[in-house]
């Protein structure tokens, strides 16, 4: 257990720093994916037309390739991609991409369509009367979305969102293969130099199991709070 001590003689601080990277990565990319997924769900609400087709192609690509591949692509090629995107605006720069931001962008890219699909289904399941009532009261468009439809859709989509959160959390483990010093990478270094793989990887397993369990508990509590206006028999 001395090996887990904080400071120079143990690996506690390295592991903690790695866990912090993992948490940051998971939270930022999930938040980004949730925002982009909401936009995508609204833009692709009608199952026909150009936007829907573009959305389907994007979803097919993003859900058809492993996220590690996207991470590598953005890590190696992100500078070039950004350069190509910036040139039309007259900015001739080649910004360097840090592994963390490459990973965040890649995970957000991959998980946006998953969340968009969930939310689109949920928006379509919000009772029609809600939209009609809001329109009859001439509530502004923006408020219909932000105040009426999205909160109810989010409640319906909540369990699916939690599932995707757990999948994404475990997917962050792959970033160590792209050279990011997350929890896995820290555990690998520690177990390599101490020859105690069971201890360090055990810590990692415990971290992931407990972190997932804690966030699921938190989410369930939040879901109950969101559902407080719904009679249990209907839920």
């Amino acid at each position: 257990m001395g090996l887990l001590a904080y400071g120079a003689e143990g690996y506690g601080d390295e592991l903690l720093a790695g866990a912090w990277v993992t948490v940051q990565l998971a939270v930022i990319s999930y938040a980004l994916a949730a925002v982009l997924g909401t936009l995508m769900a609204i833009l692709t609400l009608k199952p026909r037309g150009v936007r829907w087709t573009i959305g389907r192609v994007y979803a097919s690509v993003a859900t058809g390739v492993p996220s590690l591949l996207v991470i590598f692509l953005l890590y190696y090629g992100g500078t070039e991609i950004l350069h190509a995107l910036l040139v039309p605006f007259g900015v001739d720069e080649r910004p360097a991409i840090s592994p963390l931001w490459a990973a965040v962008a890649a995970l957000a890219f991959v998980y946006t369509p998953y969340l968009a699909d969930l939310l689109r289904g949920a928006i379509q399941n919000v009772p029609k009367g809600q939209l009609e009532a809001a329109e009859a009261l001439s509530v502004p468009r923006r408020q219909i979305w932000l105040g009426v439809l999205l909160p109810q859709a989010l409640r319906i989509a909540y369990p699916g969102f939690v599932n995707i959160w757990v999948v994404l959390l475990k997917d962050t483990a792959l970033v160590s293969l792209a050279g990011l010093t997350d929890l896995i990478a820290a555990a690998k270094v520690a177990s390599g130099s101490t020859r105690e793989p069971f201890l360090f990887y055990g810590v990692v397993v415990v971290f992931f199991v407990l972190f997932a369990a804690a966030t699921i508990r938190l989410a369930n509590r939040h879901a109950r709070r969101l559902d407080r206006g719904v009679r249990p028999s209907e839920a």
Binding site: R48, L69, L174, P197, F198, V205, V209
Partner: protein, 261 residues
């Protein structure tokens, strides 16, 4: 930012080699996961409290841990035990491929346990009672009635898991196996072309995941062909509305020429 077709063509053999490794691992892990998952599902659903707790712990640990950690544990951890190092087991554990299949298999099987359990507990009591009333032995009832129904119920969830798991095989790079991603990375490090090898590999992954998806959807349709309504109607909404009863008759249209009984 450009795609180099000549390089893509030249690197095709190496990438196909990697893709073959990905397919090999995926197929082996699906087999291991099915066997292990079925066994552990019986343990998990056992009436014996201790066995059920062991099953629950199995699921919690192997489903909760990222597969890459399980790979490291099997590949770097188990050989630390003298039981593994000083017995013939070592021949197995010295092979990265075996470790990869075992590590991913543990992860995958934990999902199979939960999917199968969900399916089994959703089986309606009617058919089971009917089979028992007809005097079928409990074992036969399980194998011929409950399990087939449970598999049909669980197949959609299994498809989701199988696709996620196929993509998570990239983790085998951690135990020095050159799969499709590894091959693409190798070509990147030789050419410093950040797009061509990775995009080509991405296309191959896309083909693999969609091939697997189509295969499982076909299986789903075949197993559920008695439920014409359950067949997902993939035609555009306009066509569906024009012919409201069509879903019920599609099966008849697809397989005609069956003599009436």
């Amino acid at each position: 930012m450009s795609f180099d077709f000549a390089l893509a063509w030249d690197s095709l053999p190496a990438l196909l080699n990697g893709a073959w490794m990905t397919v090999l691992i995926t197929a082996s892990v699906m087999a291991v996961g099915a066997v292990l998952g079925f066994g552990m599902c019986l343990v998990r659903m056992s009436r014996n409290r201790v066995l059920a707790a062991i099953g629950a712990a199995y699921v919690a640990v192997f489903r909760g841990a990222p597969s890459i950690v399980l790979l490291y544990l099997v590949y770097a951890g188990l050989p630390q035990l003298s039981v593994v190092r000083e017995t013939p087991l070592w021949i197995l554990f010295a092979s990265p491929l075996f470790c990869a299949i075992l590590g991913l298999g543990l992860n995958h099987s934990a999902y199979v346990v939960e999917i199968l359990r969900g399916g089994l507990s959703a089986v309606p009591p009617g058919p089971v009672e009917a089979a028992l009333a007809l005097g079928l032995s409990p074992r036969l009832v399980f194998l011929k009635v409950r399990l087939p129904i449970a598999v049909r119920y669980g197949l959609k969830a299994y498809q989701n898991e199988a696709l996620i798991f196929l993509k998570s095989t990239v983790a085998v790079g951690a135990v020095t196996i050159a799969d499709l991603t590894g091959a693409a990375n190798e070509i990147f490090s030789m050419t410093y072309d950040p797009f061509t090898p990775l995009v080509t590999a991405g296309v191959m992954y896309w083909l693999l995941t969609n091939g697997l998806r189509l295969a499982l959807e076909t299986l789903d349709r075949r197993l559920n062909r008695h439920l014409a309504v359950g067949v997902p109607d993939r035609r555009p909404a306009t066509a569906r509305q024009a012919d409201p009863g069509a879903a019920l008759f599609r099966r008849l249209r697809r397989s005609p020429a069956k003599p009436a009984e």
